[in-house]
């Protein structure tokens, strides 16, 4: 079961994900403030969106680390501002970024981004910056999948924690690409498949 933290909006991106066709029984929404009481014992994966209360999550960092150690998967989007994920550094902004600074580059293959073109990540409706506006220092053993800017700083990466794994995206919600008409529309179904894969 994939547990998606919701933030109190019936129409929010997390809530919409739960309502997508085929998601019944596969994806369950849980208000972020109910996480402690509900626990993670029955979850395969935890999806943390950009609008989540990271301060509260950082108070539950031990619970998240234990979940990962025993084989759970965590998919997180946003800027890492409170330490709720093991090993991820603080957000590093790009002051007054140019288009070159906001350009997304593929650095390695990963099934979540298979067939997704860089231009469809760099731009949405012609606007650059939705996908990422900075970078994070990943753990040393992370696989960096997409980099941003001329220095190709880490934007998307995946790393192991015990028997589990973290997939981190340092920008707007990955799950928000569900309705995209270009190749970025491949991300959401491929992400759900990756989460569910053994």
């Amino acid at each position: 079961m994939i547990l998606v933290l919701t933030t109190g909006f019936e129409e929010g991106a997390a809530a919409r994900l739960v309502q997508l066709p085929g998601m019944a029984g596969r994806v369950t929404g849980l208000d972020q403030y109910d996480l402690e009481g509900a626990g993670l014992d029955h979850a395969r994966a935890l999806v943390v969106g950009m609008h989540c209360d990271q301060r509260r999550l950082s108070e539950r960092a031990g619970m998240i680390a234990e979940f990962l150690a025993r084989g759970g998967r965590v998919v997180a989007s946003g800027h890492h501002a409170y330490p709720f994920l093991p090993g991820v550094g603080d957000f590093q902004p790009m002051p007054q970024p140019t288009l070159a600074d906001l350009t997304v580059h593929r650095l390695s293959d990963h099934p979540v981004w298979a067939g997704v073109e860089g231009k469809d990540l760099t731009f949405r409706r012609g606007v650059a910056g939705f996908y990422g506006r900075g970078w994070h220092e990943p753990p040393g053993d992370a696989q960096v999948i997409n980099g941003i800017g001329p220095d190709r700083r880490p934007l998307d990466f995946v790393y192991r924690v015990g028997a589990g794994a973290v997939l981190f995206h340092g920008g707007n919600d990955l799950t928000g690409y569900g309705a995209a008409c270009d190749t970025s529309g491949r991300i959401l179904p491929q992400l759900l498949d990756w989460i569910s894969a053994p």
Binding site: T7, Q54, R55, H79, V127
Partner: protein
């Protein structure tokens, strides 16, 4: 004015509220899940920043609605907070968001400024309040609309406010917006939102 702000613990609340640029404007920062009435002692102005969890706002609805029920107090509620579910008298209609409007040839934003002499506009330029919006508010009669948009072209609503000041429906003051500058400034995404806060916070501070 003594200003308190609720902190929702998101990355953008951290950047906008705790970052160097605006931290000095807030006399008290209250972590929203822990809000109690004692936290508001001595506070004249309480800011509910945009995109706070409506779960928390609904939990605190009695306390939040009581705040502007006292003369001399101001409750400021920014956008994307599902106000109809907790703020008494608040009415809001959603609209699809056109975030690429400024790329369209000859684009003219629909924003209107019915009260150009309002003191807020000594602190911000009207252009500083122009960015995409997610819906419109219908203020109660007697409120002063500061930023408005005309009726939706596809008939969803008859127009409404993006920012209004209500000094008439309760003893205190209510300022309600659809605008979401804490999110966008804290995401380092939209310079107009930074210019807006650069003027909006000093206006709140000075009354």
């Amino acid at each position: 004015m003594t200003i308190a702000v609720l902190d929702g613990g998101t990355y953008y609340h951290r950047e906008t509220i705790h970052g160097d640029r605006y931290r000095g404007w807030f006399d008290r920062v209250i972590y929203a899940p822990d809000l109690t009435v004692a936290d508001l002692d001595g506070i004249d102005t309480l800011i509910v920043p945009d995109r706070l969890s409506p779960t928390l706002l609904r939990r605190h609805r009695d306390l939040l609605n009581a705040f502007p029920a006292a003369a001399g107090r101001t409750l400021v509620v920014m956008g994307e907070n599902d106000v109809p579910s907790w703020l008494d008298g608040a009415a809001w209609s959603p609209r699809p968001t056109n975030f690429w409007w400024w790329l369209d040839q000859g684009a003219v934003p629909p924003h209107q400024f019915p009260a150009p002499d309002h003191p807020l506009f000594r602190h911000i330029r009207p252009a500083d309040a122009i960015w995409h919006f997610h819906g419109v508010l219908q203020p109660l009669p007697g409120a002063t609309v500061l930023v408005a948009v005309p009726a939706d072209a596809e008939g969803r609503d008859g127009g409404g406010a993006l920012l209004y000041e209500d000094r008439v429906t309760r003893p205190g003051r209510l300022i309600v917006a659809t605008l979401d500058p804490f999110y966008h400034h804290g995401s380092r995404f939209m310079p107009a939102t930074t210019r807006f806060l650069d003027g909006f916070l000093p206006w709140l501070k000075g009354g």
